[in-house]
């Protein structure tokens, strides 16, 4: 039987949420896309391009294209600063209460001309574009930074706004949506490298995480470090930081790939740089990675064994203590820069979202699935999972998983009972 309400709510506007929303919209479904931050795109759209003289197949630009396409699609309604408050009903007839925090800027009126930011006295600016690429296309007033919300009587931005888009009285408003299905695409949290105290992140400025390196390359385009001193000659990547350890019983799948791609980019930009990657098991599988790995197998030094300690030497360099398994002894090496390849951990607010939606978590802390065969369906009919909220994935897999979630939602909405087929699948 065809369900009458065919609209779909997508929670989270990372690349898998965007992929689901885009596919559903192209198939004629009305989509509400809600995002808790002020900007859409999540992590994928914020990474850097790792191409040297040829593309490194990291899919960031493909994610960016889908994001731009979703922003102008007529059947997708984007609600930023919004979270799910309450849920009732079942497949085909969900009632969802959304709380949208106020941006204090009317998105229909804002033309992103930047005049408000120019006059804002707060340091750092309290009113700014939603992201560097300003997606969605409007500014946002940050309550925490704005002097007006700290008691000062300041309305410089409001008076200078040519299109009268800034309204301080905007209260958080409540949306009552009725949708046929829900796709959860809330993404992941980057493992906080401070939890591995012995590796020195947060203590030594030359210890960065993979995410910091991505941000440096995204902002500067080359390895420009805040610490003085010339280009780092000797760089170490430490794998499996926050993956495959006592509290994370899974491989985050992305760290070996981004470490090798960033290492290749560093060596391309600075041929004298020597890069060492410390690993347990090198994950070099996947589409398009074969000839890529052959190319840099020679130039990168791979050492089997994870460092246990990073200390700063008197000369300001970093001394890394590790057990070199192939030589069977403990060694210490000195590096200019140490990058901790941090892994994927479950999102921070998974607990309350799971409670609101009534979906359970698996023992790694990601959202649980009905059975290993359908990695999109949760224990609640009509609520589907997309992307890294169900488990670690790289960008192409997240996109595929998002599109698959859309496909399952469409099938559920057209009255299809996806009863289990009785067959045993082993990889």
């Amino acid at each position: 039987m065809e369900l009458e309400n065919k609209d779909v709510l997508v929670v989270g506007s990372g690349i898998s949420g965007i992929a689901s929303a885009l596919e559903l919209a192209k198939a004629g479904v009305k989509v509400y896309l809600i995002e808790k931050e002020a900007a859409v795109g999540g992590y994928a759209a914020s990474f850097c391009c790792k191409a040297t003289d040829s593309c490194a197949k990291c899919s960031v630009c493909a994610a960016l294209d889908k994001l731009k396409e979703a922003l102008i699609h007529p059947r997708i309604t984007i609600l930023t600063n919004s979270t799910v408050k309450r849920l009732s009903g079942e497949l085909g007839n969900f009632h969802v209460e959304i709380i949208q925090q106020s941006r204090y800027v009317n998105m229909e009126r804002c033309v992103a001309c930047g005049l408000c930011a120019e006059v804002c006295p707060a340091q750092p600016k309290a009113i700014h574009a939603s992201s560097e690429e300003n997606m969605p296309f409007s500014y946002v007033l940050d309550e925490g930074l704005c002097l007006r919300f700290k008691g000062e009587k300041c309305d410089l931005c409001q008076s200078n706004c040519p299109t009268k888009a800034i309204e301080f009285e905007l209260k958080p408003n409540r949306h009552e949506l009725s949708v046929g299905a829900i796709i959860v695409a809330t993404g992941f949290a980057v493992f906080d490298a401070r939890l591995k105290g012995s590796l020195g992140y947060g203590r030594y400025p030359q210890v960065l995480t993979g995410l910091d390196l991505e941000r440096v390359f995204r902002r500067e385009g080359y390895l420009k470090l805040s610490t003085a001193g010339n280009e780092p000659k000797n760089i170490a990547f430490v794998q499996c930081v926050g993956s495959r350890d006592e509290r994370h019983g899974y491989c985050s799948q992305v760290c070996c790939k981004y470490a090798i791609k960033l290492a290749r980019l560093i060596q391309y930009q600075n041929p004298e740089a020597k890069v060492t990657i410390f690993y347990i098991d090198l994950q070099t599988s996947g589409k398009g990675f074969a000839q890529f790995y052959e190319e840099c197998k020679g130039s990168i030094q791979f050492i089997r064994g994870i460092p246990v300690e990073v200390l700063q030497t008197s000369s300001g360099k970093l001394e890394v203590k590790f057990e070199d398994i192939s030589q069977g002894k403990v060694r210490r090496d000195v590096f200019d820069l140490v990058v901790l390849s941090v892994g994927i951990s479950p999102g921070k607010d998974v607990w309350d979202l799971a409670r609101i939606l009534g979906i359970n978590l698996d023992d790694d802390g990601f959202f649980g699935v009905k059975s290993a065969l359908c990695s999109n369906e949760t224990n609640v009919d009509g609520i589907f999972l997309a992307g890294t909220c169900q488990g670690p994935k790289d960008i192409p897999d997240s996109i595929a998983h998002g599109v698959a979630a859309a496909s399952k939602a469409i099938q559920a909405l057209s009255g299809v009972d996806s009863r289990r087929r009785s067959f045993r699948w082993r990889w």
Partner: protein
């Protein structure tokens, strides 16, 4: 000269300070065929759009130039505004005076802004309307390959009301799974019966695709079955021909069936009674082919099963265990907990067959020196390869392959299941080595893309945006060979000479053909040679 061009300038709410819009206005009004130059503060807001529609209507212009922010986000909305004002959306030329002029340079950039707008005016002067056209399409789907992916797609499509034809080269569906050729052993019985009983799905076994013409929405193919060719029409095609494995040639001659493939071991495990249960089992993987997940996953599964069923000693020789799949790390930990010995070696172990047993000489990095292990049964490394007929089928379909020979070019814009030809999708093992979860995602992605493409029953295309002029075309086939999307065919209209014809549905508007055509026969509306050169003509005059 008849005044037919209207120019709208937008100072972005006053945000653009280093352009003197009045000076720009005086300069542009002097252009002979410009009817008016209107300066507005926010064209992208409702009131701005309102003024555009009203000004166009009462001034009766035919072409519109809008100098504002980047067309990337706004060309779409201004196109709709033109349509509201009764103009074709393609009669719009935009000049990017904000991101690429005002924000990009220090100091006064009025001169550059004037030049950018003149470039847009020169282009606008030559713009022609492009109409939308609806093409009826065929809603049936051809699925090539009757394995796990192919059958699953057919089932999910039939649930969405789309009819599918499954083409299987072998005489039986799902023949490949469970053979020595594959890794996974999966009891396909119930799924095959479900497919055969589904009246939305037509199964053609021992049948092969031999000819294909047309493009997305209207593929006409010829299927060879039992010696005769059946002509058929389809809207979309899915390639799901799976992968093939090749047992790495063991250095010793086969010593009495001791060296097996993963699937053969599966069958041994599944057999109820076994005359002699192997006491020690060895696995080797990740030496010749360091980029595949299947060997690791299959090894973990079979090793645990062997431990459980035969309680045999299990040795695994590998370089790196590929655990980048959901649940693989847990399986790896369980295997170690159950006493399965993992020996990580940098160099591949040597395999010697001696007195009825298989001896493996490996240099394990922990122990440091060569050690010899004797096993009753050894599962040698299997390399994952594309199906044998991949060459024939990919040239028949004219689709690209990646560096290891699997379907789908290694281009990130094609992931997950697209190919450079619209309407043809590639799913599962034939696209690369994918574990179970990824194959299932591929299947659902393909179903979604096909549903989105075929369910409306028609395709809305720009009619003749890229067009080959029959008079000028000398049928030299260059465009036919060059088009990356195979959107150009040689057509012979009745009693006319054979000329190139661009299929609007398949064309992706890249313009590669228009650039290379030696007879300048192909025009690409919006970016014709004249329109590009006209923009260059506006340079130099300050």
């Amino acid at each position: 000269m008849e005044k037919e061009i209207g120019i709208f300038l937008c100072n972005c709410g006053g945000g653009i300070k280093n352009i003197d819009f009045d000076a720009v206005r005086e300069k542009l009004v002097q252009i002979s065929d410009v009817a008016f130059v209107a300066v507005s503060s926010a064209l992208c807001l409702e009131e701005g759009k309102g003024t555009i529609v009203s000004t166009i209507k009462d001034k009766g212009v035919e072409k519109v130039v809008i100098a504002a922010c980047s067309p990337e986000f706004t060309e779409h909305t201004f196109g709709e505004v033109l349509e509201k004002a009764g103009l074709n959306r393609h009669l719009l030329a935009m000049a990017n005076v904000r991101e690429q002029c005002a924000w990009a340079h220090q100091g006064d950039v009025t001169k550059k802004a004037i030049q950018l707008i003149k470039m847009a005016v020169n282009r606008a002067r030559l713009l022609q309307p492009v109409q939308k056209k609806e093409l009826p399409i065929n809603k049936d789907v051809l699925v090539i390959g009757g394995g796990f992916s192919g059958l699953n797609i057919a089932l999910q499509l039939s649930r969405l009301g789309l009819r599918a034809t499954v083409l299987e080269k072998e005489a039986v569906l799902g023949a490949r799974l469970g053979e020595a050729e594959s890794f996974s052993s999966c009891d396909m019985g119930p799924m095959i019966s479900e497919v055969e009983s589904d009246d939305n799905i037509e199964v053609l076994t021992s049948a092969q695709l031999v000819r294909i013409e047309g493009n997305v929405g209207n593929f006409s193919v010829r299927i060879q079955k039992a010696g005769e060719e059946i002509p058929r029409k389809y809207g979309a095609i899915v390639v799901a021909t799976g992968y093939r494995t090749q047992l790495m040639a063991s250095s010793e001659p086969d010593s009495g069936g001791k060296i097996l493939s993963q699937a053969e071991l599966c069958r041994m495990l599944a057999a109820q009674s076994l005359e002699k249960q192997p006491r020690t089992v060895g696995f080797i993987f990740d030496f010749a082919d360091e980029n595949s997940r299947f060997p690791t996953l299959a090894t973990l599964d079979n090793a645990l099963a062997a431990k459980e069923k035969w309680d045999s000693e299990v040795y695994v020789f590998c370089k790196s265990v590929k655990v980048d799949s959901k649940g693989a790390e847990k399986l790896y930990r369980e295997a170690r907990a159950r006493g399965i010995v993992f020996l990580k070696c940098e160099t591949p172990p040597k395999v010697l067959a001696k007195n009825g047993r298989v001896e493996i000489q490996a240099q394990d990095i922990l122990m440091g020196e060569d050690t010899v292990f004797a096993c009753d049964v050894l599962v040698a490394e299997q390399q994952i390869l594309p199906a044998e007929d991949a060459d024939i089928l990919s040239s028949l379909l004219n689709v690209g392959r990646d560096s290891k020979g699997f379907y789908q070019d290694e281009n990130v814009h094609l992931y997950p299941v697209a190919l450079e030809r619209k309407g043809i999708f590639v799913v599962g093992g034939c696209r690369g080595d994918l574990d179970g979860g990824r194959v299932l995602s591929d299947i659902s992605s393909a179903v979604m893309s096909i549903y989105e493409l075929l369910s409306p029953g028609k395709i809305v295309v720009d009619s003749e945006k890229v067009k080959a002029n029959p008079q000028k075309c000398v049928a030299c086939l260059t465009c036919f060979r060059v088009c990356p999307h195979s959107a150009i065919q040689l057509m012979r209209a009745e009693n006319e000479k054979e000329v190139a014809q661009v299929a609007d549905a398949a064309c992706d508007a890249c313009g590669i053909c228009a650039a290379i055509c030696p007879a300048k026969a192909i025009s690409f509306e919006g970016y014709t040679d004249e329109q590009i050169v006209a923009q260059i003509e506006a340079l130099g005059t300050s």
